[in-house]
């Protein structure tokens, strides 16, 4: 299963819905954010994917336009394609992304992931819901791993 692809994100949406208990345990997660997959060697065209969570459920996961994206979500996580792939490939046997590739680790020093935002309140949601955001990427890594297994 290619990343990014419609197939990948459709499957991720299903898995996020299936992880409802885990999100519910973490608490209210009222936020919207996007990931921007930037061009890098072997990946020519930039793509953006918007995630919206209400209460503790994923209510939207769609590909979206770059223009004005920072105005439509609380924050945008932006990195080259190779970085997203490296992060997703770092999944550990316990189902979590490894310690060197947590979302905060990758974005705290503005390299390799940059956080874009308009409103400091929106930016702060990245931290208010940090464990929930991390869980989204843990689930994504599981989808990537299952996709990789299926294709071998």
């Amino acid at each position: 299963m290619d990343f990014p692809s419609k197939e990948f994100f459709d499957r991720l949406r299903t898995e996020l819905v299936g992880a409802a208990d885990e999100f519910a345990h973490l608490g209210v997660f009222d936020a919207s954010f996007a990931i921007r997959v930037q061009a890098s060697p072997g990946f020519a065209e930039e793509r953006n994917y918007l995630f919206r969570f209400e209460l503790d459920s994923c209510t939207e996961l769609t590909e979206t336009e770059t223009d004005g994206l920072e105005d439509r979500v609380d924050f945008v996580l932006e990195a080259p394609h190779a970085i997203w792939c490296e992060m997703l490939a770092s999944r550990q046997p316990n189902g979590e992304i490894d310690a060197a590739h947590t979302i905060n680790t990758l974005c705290h020093f503005d390299d390799p992931i940059r956080v874009r935002y308009r409103d400091p309140l929106g930016h702060d949601k990245l931290f208010r819901f940090q464990q929930s955001v991390q869980t989204v990427f843990n689930v994504a890594a599981t989808v990537a791993a299952e996709g990789a297994r299926a294709s071998t």
Binding site: L26, G27, V28, D30, L55, E96, D98, A99, T102, N104, T105, H108, F109, D110, D119, P120, L121, H123, D124, K125, F127, R128, F129, Q130, Q131, Q134
Partner: protein
Amino acid sequence: MAYYSPVDFLQDEEFIEGMKRRQNGELSLTWMDAATERVRCSPQSPRRGMTYKDINVGSYSTDAIPEVIRSHRTMAPRGSALPLGLPDMGYLVNRKSEVWANNILALYEESKTRQWNASTDIDWCALPDCQITDDMEKAFCQLCTLLTEVEMIATDLPAKWIPLINHDMIELKSLLCMQAVDEARHTEVFRKRALANGVGLLQASVVAEHALKGILDADTYTQASVFLHLLGEGFILSTFRNGEAIAPTAVDKKIFRLVMQDEARHVSYGMMHLKYFLRAHPSRAEEIHFMLDEAETLMIGLLGSAELAEPLIILAGKGFGREHIERGVELTLFNQLKAIDEYFGRLEHAGLEGRRERSQFTKLLAMLA
């Protein structure tokens, strides 16, 4: 006994007669005629349950809190009928704009659902299997010592002010109670972490204690809030984010992810409170600037202290070698500059203009350049 009833009920014949009549089933039922608003509230979302927003209606709503609360100084609930003879509880904060923010109701509901347990939500049993040298463990325990020392201020400060704030602001007081619990948990988790892996607590900090005293002794609630929520917790939030990025183990990273969630709520309230305050009192911006002139000095003392800066450098550089320390210094400076920039950004969002130009941080950076 510090307070005596204005009535000795055992000597009050009318009161005793009333009790006797009730014992005989003769009820007055005067409370049934209380002239209060009849409402029927229900949850907008059954899954969220009955939130404060759902009951924020009519005379019960937060909109019903006057800017200056002149006549109601008791714990009688907002929206209830107030009989004559209510005492004055001695509240010192009776202006809504001196405590309020427009995100209080949502943050309170969020904070309830995002509580976690420092005993069971951290995989303490995995810690011994994590590979970490004794020196790195010591650096981490020094950081935990400092964080254990400073976190409880955000419990003590709201605990000091809650009884002084007019009870009409019950949602705000409830949010501050949640903050107090959050910070008690932070103190708990860092204390436990320091003691969990073979080292223990290390060196307490004189400059940290001065900063804490500065917060606790602030002249007004708003000054205390700006110092604590925006300056102090803003920088500690950055320290938590930095901590997650440089923590030596996956266990420690989860600790930082969980504490940063709580801290960010407090920062969010602080930013929106300052915004509310400055909209109501634009001429009092100078009072905030004047307080920050000294508060930033205290914070610089903490940020530049060996007890905080050095373990961060060691952890960021992942060692004690020359190259490690140089890398650690670089990353720690990056984090501090980012924290300062975000602090200015939050103040600007709140409507406090001119802080970058006047700030002690700006002067410090010029001195270090």
